[in-house]
């Protein structure tokens, strides 16, 4: 029995590190939905672009790991800026199907564009040297990198909380998320705020992709396979709810990890059962008002 508990604990830690990539992706997704009202399928593509950019700066050009991450955040932020100003800005008022299908169109575009630019072959850059090695937990080695990812995820969560709750910018975001007209009436420049939020969300997604680069593969379609899990998380936590997204990411990440150990056949199935259950019983999400 003790053995089983140990197994589960270790599996939880592994799942926890996976949750953090999901969290970084879902955070931006839910933020954009909460403020801009658009459910962005192409958000996963920004995650993928973050990974490709980091791969290019770090793996190909050979820049410093941290500098590479910083540069890829800037690049993807720039792409987000272009996307918002040229395209997304025009769809806030239109019907849901058109919104969704426009963002779906961008998945197709980005998946093919990275194939054109980087080729279709999967790529794995080398691991940063200072992260090699592992810590002994429960008699088994647990990589430093996973520990770093867990702390990075928690750090971003705290940062987001601080920005949204304690800064003036955060208050304007919350104000416009709950009542757009009112926010506009008290002098908040809504278009600029929307652009900022979108770019910020794009950078969060890129950060998730960038942090995954050294240990995960960089290939076309990695965003598409992650986005659906991010959707599940966003729904579980409540559309537009950041705290919910964090908890949702933990649930999905850890459940996936348990699934591989305990019920491999239903690993994916279970996640969607949870999603449907939440939608039917508490559609506003676990942390909805």
């Amino acid at each position: 029995m003790g053995n089983m508990l140990e197994k589960l604990l270790f599996q939880t830690l592994i799942g926890l590190s996976f949750s953090m990539y999901l969290w970084l992706l879902a955070a931006g997704l839910t933020l954009v939905f909460g403020v801009l009202g658009v459910l962005n399928f192409a958000h996963g593509s920004l995650f993928m672009l973050g990974a490709y950019a980091t791969f290019t700066f770090y793996g190909k050009i050979g820049l410093n790991f941290w500098l590479s991450i910083f540069l890829s955040l800037l690049c993807v932020g720039g792409i987000g800026l272009i996307l918002e100003c040229l395209f997304f800005r025009r769809i806030y008022h239109i019907d849901l199907p058109y919104q969704l299908i426009l963002t779906f169109g961008f998945i197709l575009i980005f998946d093919d564009l990275v194939k054109i630019v980087w080729g279709g072959v999967a790529m794995i850059p080398p691991m940063p040297r200072f992260f090699e090695g592992s810590l002994n937990i429960l008699g088994r080695p647990f990589p430093y990198y996973n520990i770093f990812i867990i702390f990075a995820g928690i750090f971003v969560a705290l940062l987001l909380w601080f920005v949204l709750e304690k800064t003036w910018w955060g208050r304007t975001i919350r104000a416009s998320a709950s009542d757009r007209e009112m926010a506009s009436a008290i002098g908040i420049n809504i278009p600029i705020l929307f652009t900022n939020v979108f770019v910020f969300a794009a950078m969060l997604a890129a950060l998730g992709g960038a942090l995954g680069t050294p240990v995960r593969v960089v290939a076309p379609g990695i965003g598409t396979s992650m986005i659906i899990q991010a959707f599940v998380i966003t729904v579980i936590g409540g559309l537009g709810n950041l705290k919910g997204a964090f908890v949702g990411a933990l649930i999905v990440g850890i459940l996936t990890s348990y699934g591989i150990l305990l019920f491999p056949i239903f690993e994916l199935f279970i996640i969607f059962v949870v999603m449907a259950f939440v939608l039917l019983v508490k559609p506003e999400g676990l942390f909805g008002k």
Partner: protein
């Protein structure tokens, strides 16, 4: 009144739809009508994975076939006709593979088909071949069912497999049968046909030599897994002595690197990476091999390795390939290269391109190929040749790691033979 208007609107819409359809298809007819010429070049249609994490395999296939076609065309072609190649992306999806096969034969006018990386795709394309009336030479798909069930069982004579099937993956049983210290085996396998068959075949064979071994854990990784840490930690919880792993290509590289991160090689005595002898995988882990991170515990085989056999044919092939493409040839390249020469041999012996006659000519034929002498077995159309297993090592003679310490077991010992007994293709 209202009804009448909507009906009119419907009709109007339909008519316009019809015009679009008509003009579209009319346009097709014009462009397509001219593609079929009776005595132009011999058309060879290939397909493999040229996108995604396994893209290098399709590329290698295309590269190997292109090299052979260039060589043959330079010497006058087959039956005095030049060869022409078209290569498509199979995407490792059975539906796409079938669609491609149909397109290549019925529209492009292919005389022969070859390629196909995924077992699932191969099992889907095989049954369509009689309808298409074309031979297809499989250059990578490994499931035993392709030749055992479709050819030997159902008599689909259009299927030929030029590459070593999943029997090769079970070579581990012969390599490790004399290691008494390895008793507890665990598997990290692909959650599809290839993974099940390789693992089951290995279990079946090693049990014959070593009734004392146990299979303590098995984790199943679906196609397109990026993060294997959950799988690794799930099997390591059972403290195995050795691990049998099937994920291939980029996924194999990820798996090995994540296993290193999780300290697996401190704890186990051997790791068998079935297709670890593949060039792309060796390239992916070359830094780690050079630093001896695997501690000499990583073993592998492949469906051909460029440093075996030591024959003039092989040396000529490897150097021609490196000269043409600047890379070492992988097994899918060797198999497709040999396929083109097999087509040549078959067509020249039959003196025609007719499907049934070329098939008959190839049955029982022995071909000298880079991988050694291939015998095309009559009963199941499987090419038989030996590929050794070995330890992944760093060698000063090569820029990338190679298999060293080779264990050479004759193919007829570890290949299965007709009549076939079924192997489970499930968990």
């Amino acid at each position: 009144m209202a009804k009448k208007i909507t009906r009119r609107k419907f009709l109007r819409d339909t008519v316009i739809g019809g015009i679009v359809l008509g003009s579209g298809l009319g346009g097709y007819r014009i462009t397509y009508g001219q593609t079929k010429k009776p005595a132009g070049p011999i058309k060879i249609g290939g397909q493999g994975a040229i996108s995604g994490a396994h893209a290098d395999y399709g590329w290698q296939m295309m590269a190997g076939a292109t090299l052979a076609i260039e060589e043959i065309n330079a010497k006058g072609g087959i039956l005095k006709r030049k060869l022409e190649l078209k290569f498509m992306d199979e995407e490792l999806k059975p539906a796409t593979a079938v669609k491609n096969a149909r397109y290549l034969v019925t529209d492009w006018g292919a005389d022969f088909l070859f390629g196909i990386d995924s077992s699932g795709s191969a099992m889907a394309v095989g049954p369509v071949l009689p309808e298409l009336d074309r031979l297809c030479f499989f250059c990578h798909a490994a499931t035993h069912r392709l030749t055992e069930e479709l050819v030997a069982g159902k008599g689909i004579k259009q299927v030929f497999r030029m590459v070593a099937p999943v029997y090769q993956d079970a070579l581990a049983a012969w390599v490790f049968k004399d290691s008494p210290e390895i008793k507890r085996w665990a598997g990290i396998n692909c959650d599809y046909e290839y993974g099940y068959v390789a693992w089951n075949l290995f279990k079946e064979n090693i049990k014959k030599f070593r009734p004392d071994v146990e299979f303590v854990a098995a984790a199943w990784a679906p196609f397109w897994t990026m993060d294997f840490s959950s799988h690794i930690s799930a099997v390591m919880a059972e403290k195995p002595d050795a691990i049998f792993a099937t994920p291939w290509a980029g996924e194999g590289v990820m798996l090995l690197r994540q296993a290193l991160m999780l300290g697996v090689f401190e704890k186990i005595q051997a790791w068998w990476q079935c297709m670890g002898g593949s060039v792309d995988l060796l390239e992916g882990i070359s830094r780690e091999v050079a630093a001896d991170k695997f501690k000499g515990k990583l073993w592998a085989t492949a469906r051909y390795i460029h440093n075996y056999p030591d024959t003039p044919e092989n040396k000529a092939f490897v150097s021609a390939f490196r000269k043409r493409w600047g890379k070492f040839p992988n097994y899918s390249a060797e198999a497709s290269y040999s396929t083109i020469y097999a087509i040549k041999a078959g067509a020249e012996k039959a003196k025609t391109l007719e499907t049934s006659k070329v098939a008959e000519a190839l049955e029982g034929m022995e071909l000298k190929t880079p991988a050694g002498t291939r015998l095309i077995r009559k009963e199941d159309h499987q090419a038989i040749y030996t590929v050794p297993g070995g330890k992944v090592t760093h060698s000063p003679d090569y820029p990338i790691p190679v298999l060293g310490d080779l264990k050479i077991i004759p193919a007829k010992e570890y290949f299965r033979h007709p009549p076939f007994t079924p192997v489970a293709a499930t968990k």
